[in-house]
Amino acid sequence: MKTLAIYSMKGGVGKTATSVNLAYWAAQSGMKTLLIDLDPQGASSFYFRIKPAKKNWGKRFFKAYENLLKQIKASDYENLDIIPAHMSFRNFDVILDGLNKRKSRLQKILKGMKKEYDLVILDCPPSIGHLSESIFIASDRLLVPVIPTTLSERTFAQLLDFFKQEGYSKKKILPFFSLVQNQKSMHKNTQDNLRQSHPNFLKTVIPFSADVENMGEHRAPVDQFARSKPANTAYRDLWQEVSHHLT
């Protein structure tokens, strides 16, 4: 089983859209996939029409795994299950706060999923903190959407600094350009600069697209309502590229 985190320190970079579409394509490719919506503001579960669970979770760690299993919901698509937002996040917070060695706790919980899933995708909240650090440890790869603007360039540099400081492997980080508008010269220039200084940027670029915004209206992955559009092709290609890095 592989764990892929979709992570950004900054909000509004297309992180949730990436999680939803990548989870969808991973499942379509035949991998048993679990999408965990860790971002209470994010809307992966909303896009899959899944209502969050009403019940509160137990606080004790040894129950965490069982509790997590109970939260799993089948999506409308084959091979794709989801743990909805909010409750799961709160529970992780509780788990991670109260314990020693908390940073590796998430990893331990996810290990239990090995029997059932080939891939776990984490849709992460935009922040740096205990939860983010445990995500860095638990993930095989960290997929980081970067809008090619000066501001995003800086947050990306901050993430790299943080990894260096804490001694995490930079090899885990897979950055890619998101919400790209090639008609803007700043977008073009920033891409060129970053690709030069960081050759590990993925080849695939996700364009800024009304189809991605329309996901909220259709409440489904792009493939379900805009199959032949460039945004859809881009997500499919992105999954192809990412999957190579996961093997």
Partner: protein
């Protein structure tokens, strides 16, 4: 009741569906049609139902969704639980395990089927509609699948077609309550659930009865039956079983048909010759050549089959450089085999063959003559005497074996062991199964070593003959190499023979045979 389990119900007529929709609307906000596709399925097994015998079935399915075809292979229990699945897009069902791509299922079928081929026994043509029960967010809570199908068996033309419709409730993880609601609706409307997709149901629907095609093992005998009667009855069944393999042998489906044909004939021949005193001498003299004629005509083909089946083993024994020479020999033998098969096939189709078979069938079915002392003796009494005598004979001969005993005498011992084995197997139903198993196991250990020893000799002879026949320098080298290796293996096996004989006549085994078979 586990709500995560799929459950099916028969749908007798279409109007029932409107009612169901109404019932479901109380719990769900909408029922939508998701997809429609067609599936063509085949239930596969070997001619001797090797999967069925292990409570399993193999299903090959080809799905057509919007003109796109995908196929998969699924191993099921007879009750319908999925044991293993292999997604593969081959358009046709596999004939042998080696037709499959590397996978767990391939390995598994290798073990189960070995050289036996698979054949489609049942055809199922399906139309499938997938329906979704949705909530207020239009999220799918539970799925329903309506299947309309036509089922028929494939072992004959123009078999009856069975048309059926059923509905299956497919729960989704995390929505157990919704599944319970849907299940309750189906229960109310349609009564008790059914298991329409299980292989055991498909077999009973089409009237296929594997248990009737196969001989019971062991053959049932009654202890008080006169020996001649028991012999004729057993031979009658064994001969019918042998003839069952004729068609497959003619069409050259796989090598197992000839093998099983010979096994059954050999069983008949050996029980008659071991108990020949149950027939008047002149009757035996008439029966004997007729039986051996049948087997003899198959010898060449079987020898060539055996050699070809060892292809990969032989090739692996030699260094790469010698392999091309050997490959050429295999091609030659393949050609010889083709001719041998043709010859056998024309013999099978001849009037003489049919006449001989008819004579034998009539003989086995005739009332017994009961003209000799052994003929009228109860079979259980004979069993004990014969087994005990044969066992002691082997022990006695075994004690004389030293490292200097000629190979020929070892071969004689092997034949003695074979005879004991036929006796044990023929009389098995008269004794407790555990005892039979124990004795066969003990004997088998000895037989394996003697059998290997013999195989290495036979293989060397086969290759030596080749060495004289078709010789090229390339092949010469390969054959010399192989013969040397086989000779080494023969020596090694030979060194195990004495120990195995000692084990077989050990006091403990001796006492066990004595209490089991010696007249009290």
């Amino acid at each position: 009741m586990n709500s995560m389990q799929e459950r099916s119900w028969w749908l007798k007529n279409k109007p029932g569906f409107k009612k169901l929709e109404k019932l479901l609307s109380a719990s769900f906000d909408g029922l939508t049609e998701e997809s429609y596709w067609q599936t063509h399925k085949n239930l596969l097994d070997s001619f001797d139902w090797q999967l069925w015998q292990k409570d399993e079935a193999l299903l090959f399915a080809r799905e057509t969704v919007q003109e796109e075809q995908t196929g998969y292979l699924q191993l099921l229990s007879l009750r319908g639980e999925s044991l293993q699945v292999l997604e593969e897009s081959q358009p046709n069902p596999p004939s042998f395990w080696w037709d499959l791509p590397d996978s767990e299922l391939r390995e598994y079928l290798h073990k189960r089927l070995d050289v036996c081929s698979l054949e489609a026994v049942i055809s199922v043509e399906e139309e499938r509609w997938l329906l979704a029960c949705r909530d207020s967010e239009q999220k799918i809570r539970v799925r329903l699948e309506v299947v309309h199908r036509e089922v028929f068996r494939l072992d004959a033309e123009e078999t009856p077609r069975h048309h059926q419709t059923f509905i299956t409730c497919k729960p989704l993880r995390g929505y157990e309550k919704s599944a319970d609601q849907a299940l309750a609706c189906l229960h109310r409307l349609l009564g008790d659930p059914a298991n329409p997709e299980s292989p055991e149901y498909l077999l009973s629907l089409t009237g296929l009865q594997p248990e009737k095609a196969l001989l019971p093992s062991p053959l049932p005998l009654h202890p008080n039956t006169p020996t001649e009667t028991a012999l004729r009855e057993a031979a009658d069944r064994l001969f019918a079983q042998a003839r069952r393999y004729e068609a497959g042998l003619l069409f050259d489906v796989d090598t197992e048909f000839l093998h099983q044909y010979r096994v059954n004939l050999r069983r008949i021949r050996s029980i008659f010759s071991l108990l020949k005193a149950a027939l008047p001498e002149d009757v035996w003299q008439e029966l004997k050549p007729r039986l051996s004629e049948l087997s003899k005509s198959t010898n060449t083909l079987r020898d060539l089959d055996v050699f070809l089946l060892e292809r990969s083993e032989f090739l692996a024994m030699l260094p790469e450089a010698f392999r091309p020479g050997l490959e050429k020999l295999f091609h030659k033998v393949e050609e010889e085999r083709r001719l041998a098969h043709q010859q056998l096939a024309s013999q099978f189709l001849s009037a003489d063959y049919e006449k001989n078979c008819q004579w034998l069938e009539a003989f086995f079915a005739e009332p017994p003559l009961l003209a000799t002392p052994l003929a009228v003796m109860p079979v259980k009494k004979v069993a004990g005497q014969k087994i005990w005598k044969r066992y002691r004979k082997i022990c006695k001969a075994g004690q004389k074996v030293t490292s200097k005993t000629p190979d020929d005498e070892i071969h004689q011992l092997r034949i003695q062991c074979k005879k004991l084995r036929y006796l044990l197997d023929f009389f098995a139903s008269l004794y407790p199964p555990k005892q039979h198993k124990r004795h066969v196991k003990t004997l088998k250990r000895l037989q394996t070593i003697l059998g290997n020893f013999n195989d290495y000799t036979v293989q060397q002879e086969f290759l030596l003959e080749r060495l004289e026949k078709d010789t090229t320098s390339e092949l010469d080298a390969a054959l010399h190499g192989l013969i040397t290796i086989l000779y080494q293996q023969q020596l090694e096996e030979r060194s195990k023979v004495m120990q195995a004989l000692n084990d077989f006549s050990a006091q403990r085994v001796h006492a066990d045979f004595k209490t089991s078979y010696k007249k009290q």
